[in-house]
Amino acid sequence: MSGAGGYDDARRSGGARIAGGHGRGGQEIGGGWEATHATGNANEVPDQPTSFDFDAESEAALAAIVKRYPPGKQASAVIPALYLVQRQMGRQTGSAWVPRVAMDLVAERLGMPPIRVYEVATFYLMFNTKRIGKVHLQVCGTTPCWLRGSDDVFRACKDAGHLKGYGDTSADGMFTLTEVECLGGCVNAPVLQVDDDYYEDLDYDRTVALLDALRRGERPQPGSAIGRQTSAPVGGALTLIDVPGE
């Protein structure tokens, strides 16, 4: 799902984009959905592995998750189970995504029809149903971040990550860039989500520095890039400065 950008794109190209196999498929670089998501047919996803099995770490985590739900309601564990798959794929292959065979395995483990798992996995854009790069850059493009300069963050990602735009994976397989909707970090806008971590208060230069660090294999401390504590005001506290009685 992308925001209003898709309609803008369509208008610019005069609506002549219909021939594509998919809503936005006619364009090479779309709003980001295509980078991480298959169309309605898993057979069209390239590089589907032929087998998937939970490793010991996932197995232990899955057992703990399934135990949370009463007997017969194991299907409730489908979302955490898919996260386990995605993390394990990230650990094992360097690309955190959910292949079809893994969805089948989740369905089997949780006693639900495979199509119900496919529906969940394709509904949430946090699950990547296609192979992605080693690092997943998710730029928030919703209004508060946009007002605070998400366009610069986007530009920095393109330049430093050698990416063509939203929906692209860099040639070296390092980065995949997606546009996401509000991440709920508006006070610290603009926000870039890298895999599971939020990097906040970014601008062009800080984003370039972050990507360079990521490329070197480092993981800088998540959170505000200008060092403010959580969402406290920039430059220190503005209220409750005086302590009564002092």
Partner: protein, 683 residues
Amino acid sequence: MAKVTVDGVEVEVPNGASVLQACEAAGKEIPRFCYHERLSVAGNCRMCLVEVEKAPKPIASCSYPVADGMKVFTDTPMVRNGRRGVMEFLLINHPLDCPICDQGGECDLQDEAVAYGMDRSRFQEGKRSIKDKYVGPLVKTIMNRCIHCTRCVRFCTEVAGVPELGATSRGETMEIGTYVEKALTTELSGNLIDICPVGALTSRPYAFASRPWELRKTDSVDVLDATGCNIRVDTRAGEVLRIQPRTNDEVNEEWLHDRGRFSFDGLKRRRLDRPWVKRDGKLRPATWAEAFDAIAARMKGLPGERIGAAVGDLVDAEAIVALKDLMAGLGSHNLECRIDGAAVDASRPDFWRFNTTIAGIDEADALLIIGSNPRQEAPVLNARIRRRTLAGTFPVGYIGPRGVNLTYGHDWLGEGPETLRALLDGSHRFSEALGRAERPMLILGRGALARPDGAAVLAAAWQVASRHNMLRPDWHGFNLLHLFGGQVGALELGFVAPPDLAPPGPPQALWLLGADGFDASRIPADTFVVYQGHHGEAAAARADVILPGCAYTEKEGTWVNTEGRVQRGRLAVHPPGEAREDWKIIRAASEVLGARLPYDTLAAVRARLVEVNPVFARPDRLERRGCEDKSGPAGDPGSLSDAPFALPISNYWQADVVSRASETMAECARVLLPAVPERIAAE
């Protein structure tokens, strides 16, 4: 009950009913796409908007419960504007390709667009386009037309019991499909075509064939399984173009199984469309006069006890009674309608009918299935069992091959008669579940009787029913599930030899009426064989004279379904070539054989049917009866063997002569037979 006023009309509806149901009770038509009476409520198309007094916004009537004193308005400016807005949104991504759409003329979206659509679109942007999905040889998809009502998803999940369709992705990229490309593994897939309110799911065999207003529609009855689904045969220029279900809540509701719906192209192929006579050891085309001459030459004057007759699976009651009377006129008692070898006890209707009735399944509270796979033998009836299992506590015990997927959970009890024995002496664990039930029923498959100890199986099943309180004056829980539409009619007419009259020797002449399953190797070499029917395979090849008859769409006929419900089929197309109505053929043959039958009109034949069995006087009406006489059939349960039950239908798609001649069904068998999981892991 809640009192609701709809446009000034006061109606009373049950608490918990939806506003839409209240509007219908008041005679107001509410447009809808996603709502379907026989599926769960989704409430996602928003077309059924109505105004409710004191509600600030229009409400979706299908998913809004009524309240006492509610005032509903179905035709106000707010309602009309709301529906127009919904229609505009629905049409945003709809291709408007009505001129090339097979749904054109019977499309809900088209109809409602006439009422609520604009004559232009304000949508300037590009429409989305979705690749078509392959979901099997029967259903064609044009996914651009889909309006995401999810009726098909709910049908597959709820009614058919094969959750394989789903809605993947979301928002503008949402698609209906199987995600992993595959053919739907259900015997009810044709119903998807009916419930799709737009042209997204259409019939592949009917693609670009015709428009609905060009078709001549004939009400009839399906005979390709023993459920007796009510159908409508759509024809044009003497050709069947499609078959659709008719609503009959007591039989098929509004569903039809795929073999009944799609095998009609078999009615045009491999037909016996002219008489054939064997000369010099070879069948050669002949005229009717030559055929009758040949019959007269070989059969006239034969002693009655050396003449035999057998009827097959799809034959109408009129032809059966005519053949029975002809044989009586010739002095023969050697009649047989159980050519599959099923040891059906023909002495009392209780023993061969589905006594609980199909609608009665809804009232039952425990079920034992013996040697039958209702999913393949009667898919529509099976859907009703499935619905009953979903409705509440309904233990289902199954005796038959392990791991059969019935589309509902069941307790596998065993493979063969040893389980029956355990149930007979009450030592089996399932006896307890049956004992707790107030209205337990059992379904005995006809296939379980087609074995050497068939009579013993029947008797044992009857005793199991008797022991578990299924046979009561107010409830009859013993059911025999037949396989084809003509099987019960022959039993109702007593087309069997009297039990104490064994033929003195092998027959010198044999009349096979549609009896294609008759084992040709059992016929002595010098026996004169007449084969009468519309399709013929092995038995017809053995015949000395072939008389071309009519298929079920080509005659006015009466069939009896597995419940004993008498239903009429009507002539939709004329038979091909020189084929004639079957009872007329027999009437003509009776003339040359010197045993002239006393009826010349259909009315006279039907009067004779009533004379033989009064149930034929009341077509379409079925009286439910309790069990008045608990004495069982003749077999001896002590002689049960230990052989496991085998299922009679291994290839649902090609189970009868018509579907075996059908190319559509051949394609289904090719695609689906390896895919249909005959045996999945035990539940």
